[in-house]
C-alpha cells in the first residue's frame, strides 16, 4: 500500500501547496528543492520555508504535488507523479448515507478548494484528476468554479467527479454546456431501477426521483456520465431490471460500471450481509451486462479479479482498484493476467482473497 498522507514538520503558518523536486530546475513558485535526506525521510525548502516529510524517500516523492499542513503535522500527496488515480477529497459531508459507504460522512467541512486549484495547475501534462467526497456537489459553486478555472488554464487536464447527482438544477444546464465540460466526466451511482430499493440503499427518501431530475438536466447539458452500481446482496437480483432501465432511460451515458464491494467503512461492519460472491452465481450480473450491451450501453466490471469472472465476460473486468490500495493474493503470483487485473483492495479479507483466485 502506498501511503498518501505522511507525517511532516513545516515552519509555515498556514497550509500550502508544494511540488517536490531534487532541484529547483523549473523555478516555479511552488517548487521545493531537496536539501537533505535520511532514513526517516526527506527535507525540502521552498518559498514557505522548510518541510521535513517522513515515511517516504525522495525518489518516491519526486515530482509529487503535496499539500503541507503545518498545524496538522502532515503532508498529503495530492497528485502523485505518474499515478492515474489521483483524487481530490473535497468534502467529507454527504446528504446520503449509503448502506455500504466506503467513506462514511462526517459533519464538518474544511474548505480547501483554493489549495486544490493551485495543486491542479501543477499537475503532470494530460492528467485525469478524480474528485470525490463525501458529496462534492454540496459545494457545487466552489467545485464548478475551481474546475472551470483549471480547465481554462490547462487545456490538457480532465476531471472525473464522483457525485450522487442530487444537486443539479436548471441553471446548470447552460453552464455545463460550456466546451470545457467536455473534459469532465460525472461518475454517478444508481443502485436499482425501483425507487424504493434505490432510496433504501442510499438512505435518503426520494433520492431516486431527484436523481432522475438531475439526469434529465445532465443529458440536456450533454454531460459525460459514467453510471456506477455497487453490487450488494440487496440489489444483485435486481441488476437485470436495472440494466433494462438504463437502456431505456439512461442510454446517453458513456459507460456503466458494475462494482464489487470495498471492504471498508460501513461495508466492513456489514460485510457478511452485503457481500455478494459473484463467482458462485454470476448469472444476474452476466444477464445485466448482456441486456446493457444488447442496446449499445457499454458495461464494465470494477473490482472483479479477472479469474473470478466467467471467460465470456472477463475482458470487461478492469484493473480498477487505485494503485495505492491495490494488492494481489499470494496465489496470484504466477498469473499471466495480473497486469490487466483489479487485484484486491488492500483491506479485502485475506482468507477470502486467497481462496478465490485461480491464476490464469
Amino acid at each position: 500500500m502506498i501511503r498518501l498522507t505522511l507525517p511532516a514538520m513545516a515552519d509555515a503558518e498556514r497550509p500550502y501547496v508544494a511540488r517536490l523536486g531534487r532541484t529547483r530546475s523549473t523555478n516555479g513558485v511552488h517548487d521545493f528543492e531537496l536539501i537533505d535526506e535520511d532514513v526517516d525521510g526527506a527535507t525540502y525548502v521552498g518559498r514557505n520555508g522548510l518541510v521535513a516529510i517522513d515515511g517516504a524517500t525522495s525518489d518516491e516523492l519526486q515530482g509529487d504535488v503535496v499539500i503541507v499542513d503545518p498545524a496538522g503535522g502532515r503532508a498529503e500527496r495530492i497528485l502523485r507523479r505518474g499515478s492515474t488515480h489521483n483524487t481530490l477529497l473535497v468534502t467529507e459531508r454527504c446528504d446520503q448515507l449509503c448502506l455500504m459507504c466506503s467513506q462514511p460522512p462526517k459533519k464538518t467541512h474544511v474548505d480547501r478548494f483554493a489549495l486544490f486549484e493551485e495543486a491542479c495547475l501543477l499537475a503532470d501534462p494530460g492528467s485525469l484528476i478524480g474528485v470525490s467526497g463525501g458529496e462534492p456537489t454540496l459545494y457545487k459553486s466552489d467545485l464548478l468554479g475551481m474546475m472551470e478555472r483549471v480547465l481554462s488554464e490547462r487545456q490538457d487536464i480532465e476531471f472525473h467527479v464522483l457525485t450522487n447527482g442530487q444537486f443539479f438544477d436548471e441553471a446548470d444546464i447552460v453552464r455545463l454546456r460550456d466546451p470545457r465540460y467536455a473534459r469532465v466526466t460525472w461518475g454517478i451511482p444508481v443502485y436499482a431501477a425501483e425507487a424504493v430499493l434505490h432510496d433504501r440503499i442510499v438512505g435518503k427518501e426520494r433520492a431516486f426521483e431527484r436523481l432522475e431530475t438531475s439526469m434529465a438536466m445532465l443529458a440536456r447539458a450533454g454531460a459525460r456520465i459514467e453510471l456506477r452500481t455497487v453490487l450488494i446482496s440487496d440489489n444483485v437480483q435486481a441488476l437485470p431490471s436495472l440494466a433494462s432501465y438504463i437502456t431505456r432511460r439512461l442510454r446517453f451515458v458513456e459507460v456503466w460500471s458494475i462494482m464489487q464491494l470495498e471492504n471498508i467503512g460501513f461495508a466492513r461492519t456489514r460485510w457478511a450481509s452485503l457481500f455478494v460472491d459473484h463467482a458462485a452465481d454470476f448469472a444476474p450480473i452476466g444477464e445485466a451486462i448482456d441486456q446493457a450491451m444488447l442496446r449499445g450501453v457499454r458495461a464494465q466490471l470494477f473490482n472483479f479479479p479477472r479469474c473470478t469472472v466467467p471467460v465470456a465476460w472477463r475482458d470487461l473486468a478492469r484493473a480498477s482498484i487505485s494503485d495505492w490500495k491495490r494488492r494481489y493474493a499470494d496465489a496470484c503470483s504466477p498469473c499471466r493476467e495480473r497486469d490487466a487485473c483489479s487485484g484486491f483492495f488492500e483491506w479485502h479479507p485475506t482468507e477470502q482473497a486467497e481462496a478465490g483466485v485461480r491464476p490464469l
Binding site: E212, T213, M215, A216, A219, R220, P240, S244, R248, R249, L250, R251, F252, G286, E287, I289, D290, Q291, M293, L294, R295, G296, A312, W313, D315, L316
Partner: protein
C-alpha cells in the same frame, strides 16, 4: 402484436392493448407498461422526454464530412465475369485509366479533407493493374490519424508490387468467392487453371496476413444458387466466417431481358432467409466458430444498436455525395457504385460532378431532397421504419423513378422480409437462434430475452 415506437423502442403486446391505444382507452397499467418500454412518454416525465429525444436522434443516420472515397483507378480487368458487363473493359483497352490530371485532382481532394480519418476503397475494373496509382493515393494519406484502405481485387495476379501494398497494416483485401470451385469457375474465372490461380492466391494472402485482413463476397445467381453448405465451406476452409451474400445485380438491358426478375427477387429472399437459418444451425452444432451473413447482422444490429455499423447502404436519411463518393476512371463523381454502373449502362446519367469541378450542385441536392423514409406515407405506417432506410439509386435503377408507392418496390419487399425474419428470431425461444443472435450482436453471453413482452 409488435408495437414499435418512432425511436425504435419495441415490445410484443396483446391485441387488446393496441385496441385500447386506438380508442384512447388505455388503463393506468397499460400506460405504465408502455412507458417502461419507452413506447409512451408522459408529459411530466422529464427524463423520459430526454431519453426519447436521444433515442430518436440516435436513429438519424448522421452523414458527416467526406471521409470515405471509392476510387476506380482503372476500368480494365483481367477477368470477364458473366454478370459484369458494364463495370469493366478488356485488359488491353486504352483510355480507361486515370490520367495524370485525374490523379492530381484526386490527390487535391484528399488534401482538402477536413477530418482526421479516411477510408478508401479501390475498385475497378481490377485496381491492382495499376499499383502505382494505388500507391500514390495511399502515400498521400499519411497525414490522417486513422486510415483504412480496402483493395477490391480478383486476386488473379499477385506480383511483388501488389504484395508490397498488401503488406501495409492499413491495407485490407476484399475479394469475390462465389462458392465451390465449379460455381466460381462458371461465374467468374471461366476455366480450371484460372480458378486454381485465384484459390492459390487467396490461400497465400490468408496465410500471410490472417483471415481478419481478408474479406470475401459471393455473388449469387438466384436462378441457380449454390448449395449453402458448399458455399459456407468454401469460406470456412479459408478461415473466413463472414459471408455477405450479394444477388447478381442486373443492370440495364440485362434486367430488361429478365422478364422474370420479380420471381428472381423472391427466390433471392427465400435463399437468403434459408441461408441465415442454416448458419444458425451450424453455429449451434459447432460453437467454436461464429458464422454470419453480414447484411442480416447489419439489419439486426440496426434494431438494437443504431449507429453501430457505418453501412452506407442502409441508413436514414441516406444522402448521396456527402460523406462518401465514387470517383470513376475518367474523373466523374457518382453517389454510389451502382449509380456509376447505371450510368455506364446508359439508363440514366447519375454523375453528380467530377473531380475537377466538384459535385456540390443541383443534381445532388435534388436527390437528397428525397433521401429519407421519414415522411413517406407508406413508411410512416410501417413498424420497421426506425430500422430501415432509403435507397434512391436502387429505385432509379429498377423503376427509373423514385415515387412508386414504397411497398411496390423491391427495396421495400426485401427489407420487409428481412425485418420479419429479424423479429421472428428476436422472439424465438430456440436456444440455437438465441445463441447466434447474441454472437451477431457481439454480446459476451446470451441474454434471457431480446425483446420485451407486455403483460
Amino acid at each position: 402484436m409488435l408495437l414499435v415506437g418512432d425511436s425504435g423502442a419495441f415490445a410484443l403486446g396483446p391485441r387488446s392493448i393496441v385496441e385500447r391505444l386506438g380508442t384512447d382507452a388505455l388503463t393506468h397499467e397499460d400506460r405504465k407498461s408502455l412507458a417502461r418500454e419507452g413506447l409512451l412518454v408522459a408529459e411530466e416525465d422529464a427524463l423520459g422526454q430526454v431519453a426519447h429525444g436521444h433515442a430518436l436522434a440516435g436513429r438519424i443516420g448522421g452523414a458527416g464530412a467526406l471521409d470515405y472515397l471509392i476510387l476506380v483507378p482503372t476500368l480494365r480487368c483481367n477477368l470477364s465475369c458473366s454478370y459484369c458487363q458494364v463495370s469493366r473493359v478488356a485488359e488491353r483497352s486504352k483510355g480507361f485509366d486515370w490520367n495524370d490530371r485525374t490523379l492530381t485532382a484526386v490527390l487535391e481532394i484528399i488534401d482538402a479533407l477536413e477530418l482526421d480519418q479516411i477510408k478508401i476503397e479501390f475498385q475497378g475494373g481490377e485496381p491492382t493493374l495499376r499499383p502505382d496509382l494505388i500507391r500514390a493515393v495511399i502515400e498521400r494519406c499519411e497525414r490522417f490519424a486513422r486510415r483504412q484502405f480496402v483493395i477490391c481485387t480478383n486476386l488473379q495476379r499477385l506480383d511483388d508490387e501488389v504484395i508490397a501494398l498488401f503488406d501495409r497494416p492499413d491495407v485490407f483485401i476484399s475479394t469475390s468467392l462465389d462458392g465451390d470451385v465449379s460455381t466460381h469457375a462458371r461465374q467468374r474465372t471461366g476455366d480450371a487453371a484460372t480458378t486454381d490461380t485465384f484459390l492459390e492466391n487467396l490461400r497465400f494472402v490468408v496465410d500471410r496476413y490472417g483471415a481478419t485482413k481478408v474479406s470475401a463476397l459471393p455473388t449469387i445467381d438466384p436462378a441457380s444458387p449454390p448449395d449453402m453448405d458448399a458455399l459456407v465451406d468454401s469460406y470456412v476452409v479459408h478461415g473466413i466466417d463472414s459471408v455477405f451474400l450479394r444477388p447478381i445485380n442486373y443492370q440495364g438491358f440485362a434486367r430488361k431481358r429478365h422478364a422474370e426478375v420479380r420471381e428472381l427477387d423472391a427466390a433471392w429472399r427465400d435463399y437468403h432467409a434459408a441461408f441465415v437459418r442454416r448458419l444458425i444451425e451450424r453455429n449451434w452444432t459447432d460453437r467454436s466458430r461464429v458464422l454470419e451473413e453480414t447484411y442480416f447482422s447489419i439489419c439486426l444490429r440496426r434494431v438494437f444498436q443504431p449507429g453501430a455499423d457505418r453501412h452506407v447502404d442502409l441508413r436514414d436519411p441516406n444522402p448521396v455525395g456527402v460523406d462518401y463518393v465514387v470517383v470513376d476512371y475518367d474523373g466523374h463523381v457518382y453517389p454510389t457504385d451502382e449509380a456509376r454502373m447505371l450510368t455506364r449502362s446508359g439508363v440514366i446519367d447519375l454523375a453528380i460532378g467530377d473531380v475537377f469541378q466538384g459535385w456540390q450542385g443541383d443534381m445532388r441536392d435534388q436527390l437528397n431532397a428525397h433521401a429519407t423514409n421519414r415522411f413517406d406515407p407508406t413508411c410512416q405506417r410501417c413498424a420497421y421504419q426506425p430500422f430501415c432506410g432509403r435507397d434512391l439509386i436502387d429505385d432509379l435503377s429498377r423503376y427509373g423513378r423514385i415515387d412508386l408507392p414504397r411497398h411496390e418496390t423491391e427495396f421495400c419487399r426485401r427489407h420487409l422480409a428481412m425485418f420479419d425474419l429479424v423479429f421472428e428470431f428476436i422472439y424465438s425461444e430456440e436456444p440455437a437462434v438465441r445463441h447466434s443472435l447474441a454472437r451477431w450482436l457481439r454480446l459476451p453471453g446470451t441474454p434471457s430475452r431480446f425483446g420485451a413482452v407486455l403483460s
